[in-house]
């Protein structure tokens, strides 16, 4: 079947195409060059006047894994406000802050997204993360495996194991957990909480191991680079949400010494202590540091006002914030000498000074970082806001008048503490396409995704240009997934199953000797039962794996 998309205005930053009229040909799920000689078009879509981008990629969204399911079970009252009936095409479920898996897939697709990546896959919970994502239709998915508070790594650091041994362990874990990246959450802090430490600064020692967050960041960032994983170490830093944490964040950037590093939901790590309320925006200093350090990428973790639920691996910080739970119930867990999690429902209020300033800090960050290839559009779903608020966020970025209108309604003291009103920048369509497509695919290391040139998989979103960017991005005209038309006018018309993106970095098989002894002695599962096999993805006939290339590895 040969499909032609005719005459659309194409934004394809991966090929340097910025708003140019172009035809696109699709065959066997992929984009091809215009066939030579005589050819028969089986299906043509007239896209004159339409905006064409590749399918959007959410590079940090909590869509799979135990803490998400705890959040679901915790909040029946939220689901009741957004029941979703099944149709002849679609399964039923629930939406809003902790949507069911099927509704997650449909709603992402209906906004033009074709892939989402779960950033906090605990190795011991990876099976669950993949099983949940296995029930998310249409989207491609993948996960970043969490290390840094696992006792095995901390024991290695205490025992002064060399970098090569750590590389082997990291690579082995990525293979066992079927990951495409590595994340560290409050480096060592989740572990320190189990020893009753309540905070852990960058240079503060774990009371049992004597290891600092800085040590952990250094060895993990090095490992990720040396084993050839494209996605830089994905870092949820120390002191999330603590006023004054900007100093830690700047120190983290400076301290990594040029190694590739991605700082996630940086909004939550950009707080100063100025002003009457001892809470101020550090966005300008963070943006300056990011602009200067080309090894650093960030996503924002924008907050938007309303009810949500925060679900994080960072049980140390989640526990510290439990008094803000709204409604007043919350969960933390210590997990398997591996990590932990914390789930705290939260309501961001525009008339609350802190929340209002958090909102402004996120937007300042977006607008003050120069290079859209190194900043990514996230709300840290659902922690800052549910992913369904992305079109609203895009409008805030692209429409200064709208932004300033909203700004004028938030807590007056917060208005005084932000420079937002004076920032003139409006994101362009091409910059949105970079942040949500080409840049994300490049950052994660996805081959043949995130672009519209020949050879790419045909994940394509078509919008009607509209000055109201929220309306435009809420309801694409068409969404194609692997060349199949899945959404028309913002509604799912066809469903399919996406792939799971992984990498398989090499490791010395000898790494299993010590690991096996450790598993037998201290853990509650046998090593061979821990490793996730390929058939766990494929045996029900729906899932499959796509392995992406490594950097500088023969």
């Amino acid at each position: 079947m040969l499909i032609k998309l005719t005459g659309g205005t194409v934004y394809d930053p991966a090929s340097g195409v910025d708003g140019k009229k172009q035809d696109i040909y699709i065959q066997n799920g992929k984009i091809i060059n215009k066939p030579s000689g005589e050819f028969q078009i089986d299906k043509e879509y007239d896209l004159k006047g339409k905006v064409v981008m590749s399918g959007a990629i959410d590079m940090h969204t909590h869509i799979g894994g135990g803490k998400g399911n705890i959040a679901r079970t915790l909040l029946p009252e939220d689901h009741r406000l957004d029941p979703v009936a099944g149709t002849h095409l679609c399964r039923s479920g629930c939406g809003h802050v902790a949507p069911s898996t099927f509704i997650t897939g449909y709603r992402y697709a209906e906004m033009g997204y074709t892939a989402g990546f779960e950033p906090a896959v605990l190795p011991i919970n990876a099976r669950q993360a993949h099983m949940e994502m296995g029930d998310i239709p249409i989207l491609d998915k993948g996960g970043y495996v969490m290390l840094g508070s696992d006792d095995y790594l901390l024991r290695m650091l205490t025992a002064k194991k060399d970098q090569k041994a750590i590389n082997d362990y990291v690579a082995w874990t990525m293979n066992a957990a079927k990951a495409i990246g590595v994340k560290v959450v409050n480096p060592g802090g989740i572990n320190a909480f189990k020893f009753n430490q309540r905070k852990l600064d960058l240079d503060e020692q774990n009371s049992h191991y004597g290891v600092t967050p800085r040590d952990i960041l250094q060895v993990l960032a090095t490992a990720v680079k040396e084993i050839g994983v494209s996605h830089p170490l994905h870092v949820h830093g120390c002191n999330l949400g603590v006023p004054g944490n900007i100093e830690t964040t700047l120190d983290t950037i400076q301290g990594i010494g040029g190694l590739p590093m991605h700082l996630t939901h940086i909004q939550f790590h950009s707080y100063g202590t100025e002003g009457d309320f001892k809470f101020s925006s550090g966005a300008a200093r963070i943006a300056e540091a990011v602009n200067k350090h080309k090894n650093i990428t960030i996503d924002v973790g924008q907050i938007l006002f309303g009810q949500t639920v925060t679900a994080s691996g960072d049980n140390m910080r989640q526990h510290a914030n439990n008094k803000f739970a709204s409604p007043a119930k919350w969960v933390t867990m210590d997990i398997e000498c591996d990590a932990g999690c914390g789930v705290v429902p939260f309501k961001y209020k525009d008339q609350n000074f802190v929340n209002a300033l958090q909102w402004a800090i996120g937007l300042e960050t977006f607008l003050l970082v120069d290079d859209p290839w190194r900043i990514f559009l996230t709300t840290d779903h659902p922690n800052g806001a549910p992913f369904t608020s992305y079109p609203h966020l895009i409008r805030l970025l692209m429409d200064r008048t709208f932004r300033n209108d909203v700004l004028s309604t938030i807590h007056p003291e917060a208005q005084k503490m932000t420079t937002l009103a004076s920032i003139e920048r409006e994101y362009t369509l091409q910059e949105i396409a970079i942040m949500t497509r080409a840049g994300a695919a490049k950052l994660i290391g996805l081959e043949n995704r995130g672009g519209l040139s020949a050879g790419n998989w045909a994940d394509i979103t078509v919008y009607t240009d509209n000055a109201d960017r929220q309306k435009m991005f809420e309801k694409p005209d068409y969404v194609f997934k692997d060349g199949e038309l899945v959404v028309v006018d913002g509604n799912v018309v066809h469903t399919k199953w996406g792939t799971t993106h992984i990498v398989k970095p090499h490791f010395d098989a000898g790494v299993e000797k010590d690991l096996r002894a450790y598993f037998d002695k201290y853990l509650t599962m046998k090593l061979d039962n821990f490793k996730i096999s390929d058939d766990e993805f494929t045996e029900d006939g729906r899932g499959h794996l796509t392995t992406h290339p490594l950097n500088n590895v023969a």
């Binding site: 009936a85 099944g86 898996t101 000498c337």
Partner: protein
């Protein structure tokens, strides 16, 4: 004869995966690391291999077609039991969505006691490996732990731990129920402290314990036969512990509104965490109950007592109880899914009944359709959740029985009821 090592068990809830079994044709024998729960469950023989309609053997296709026909003409079917693996639950939920059925896990009235506490105020919980490596004080409330999981002490407490110099010195404290054996006596001979009371008096005992943890003055000198000074000593031990753990089996707290006792325990744990570390550790996870709640959770948003009758999931932890729906005459058909335990027969009813269950189930009243299925972890590969709700174990296929999986059967019934592929 084939020997298979490191076999994970879906039966005991603690996800034991060190069993060695011997497979000889259809016969399974547990060679090592068995227990009263697992050995029996693994060695249960296959007797039925053919589906039946009205007691007569038929092909699988015929049985599936009859089940679909029965369900086509119902308005409020109940799919109960829900004891199967992850793929089985996926198929079950797809069928429920298609038929507008109620999904109700057989153990939900017990699980509900925990879930209600979770949904009202939340908790701070832990998992098995943390218990094994950190727990220095274990308080067991209203539960005979070794009766629940015979190898719990041997496997997780009386061996080496990362953060305890001498695991034999762990404090084990029973509150309410006394242990049925001596598994809780440590290898060095340290015995558990036991403070017995009637199970239904635990709300009072636990309330006083929490009050003592919070530093409140108690006028009474004893509660339900337990000295307040003994409870004060337990409170002090928990405060002095580096990593206390409080465990209970919701099923053992068999009195009305036991969720309030569990909530008091969970809130007490939060109080203790103001100064030290302490975690809850609910016991459960047998016969797929955590699996049912997990898969139903991500598919519908709710734990496994959900109605799809309105076209979207509706959760009601009380009104959607299978027994209530059957007794009130609200349901008009019953589908009983039980892939683990042939003795767990469906509730009595005169409604059209479809049973998808482990081979060897003996019925008082023959169901309209009976389809024997393979057992996850013996006859086919699969996934099951352990009691701590975080760890999904990978179940192995150990023999070729040719019995279909729950998923195969339920997906086939669902497919029979529709034309288009839904995902």
């Amino acid at each position: 004869m084939t020997e298979i090592r490191e076999v994970p068990s879906p039966f005991c809830g603690i996800g034991t995966d060190d069993l060695t079994i011997d497979v000889n044709g259809q016969q399974v024998k547990v060679l090592s690391n068995g227990c009263a729960v697992n050995t029996l469950a693994f060695e249960h023989p296959i007797t039925d291999t053919k589906p039946r309609i009205d007691g007569k053997e038929v092909s699988l296709d015929e049985a599936v077609a009859r089940a679909a026909t029965l369900l086509k003409h119902t308005h409020f079917p109940v799919i109960a039991g829900c004891a199967t693996d992850v793929n089985g639950m996926r198929g079950l939920l797809a069928l429920a969505d298609r038929t507008g059925a109620v999904v109700d896990n057989a153990n939900f009235n017990n699980a509900r006691k925990n879930i209600l506490a979770l949904q009202d105020t939340g908790w701070m919980n832990t998992t098995l490996a943390e218990v094994k490596n950190r727990c220095d004080v274990l308080v067991i409330v209203g539960t005979d732990l070794e009766g629940f999981a015979p190898r719990f002490f041997e496997k997780y407490l009386w061996n080496e731990a990362m953060f305890l110099d001498n695991t034999s010195e762990r404090d084990i404290i029973y509150l309410g129920t006394k242990p049925s054996g001596t598994a809780s006596t440590s290898p060095s001979g340290k015995t558990a402290q036991v403070f017995e009371c009637e199970t239904q008096n635990l709300p009072d005992v636990v309330a006083v314990l929490r009050a003592l943890v919070k530093g409140q003055q108690i006028q009474a000198t004893s509660v339900a036969g337990i000295l307040v000074s003994d409870l004060a000593a337990i409170a002090q031990k928990l405060k002095d512990a580096k990593y206390g753990v409080i465990t209970w089996a919701a099923g053992a707290l068999n009195y009305s509104h036991a969720e309030l006792t569990i909530q008091t325990l969970c809130e007490m744990i939060k109080n203790l965490n103001e100064t030290t570390r302490c975690s809850g550790f609910p016991l459960g996870g047998k016969e797929g109950d955590q699996t049912a709640n997990q898969v139903c959770g991500w598919t519908s948003g709710y734990a496994a007592r959900v109605s799809f009758a309105k076209g979207y999931p509706v959760y009601d932890p009380f009104l959607l109880d299978t027994h209530t729906l059957l007794e009130n005459g609200e349901a008009d058909a019953l589908v009983w899914v039980q892939a683990f335990n042939a003795s767990a027969t469906p509730p009595k009813t005169n409604l059209p009944t479809i049973v998808v269950a482990r081979s060897g189930m003996i019925f008082e009243k023959e169901p309209d359709v009976f389809i024997p299925v393979g057992t996850p972890g013996i006859d086919h590969a699969g996934h099951a959740y352990r009691l701590d709700n975080v760890v999904a174990i990978r179940l192995k296929k150990c023999r070729d029985s040719n019995l279909p999986s729950t998923a195969t059967v339920l997906n086939a019934i669902e497919k029979n009821l529709r034309e288009e592929v839904v995902c």
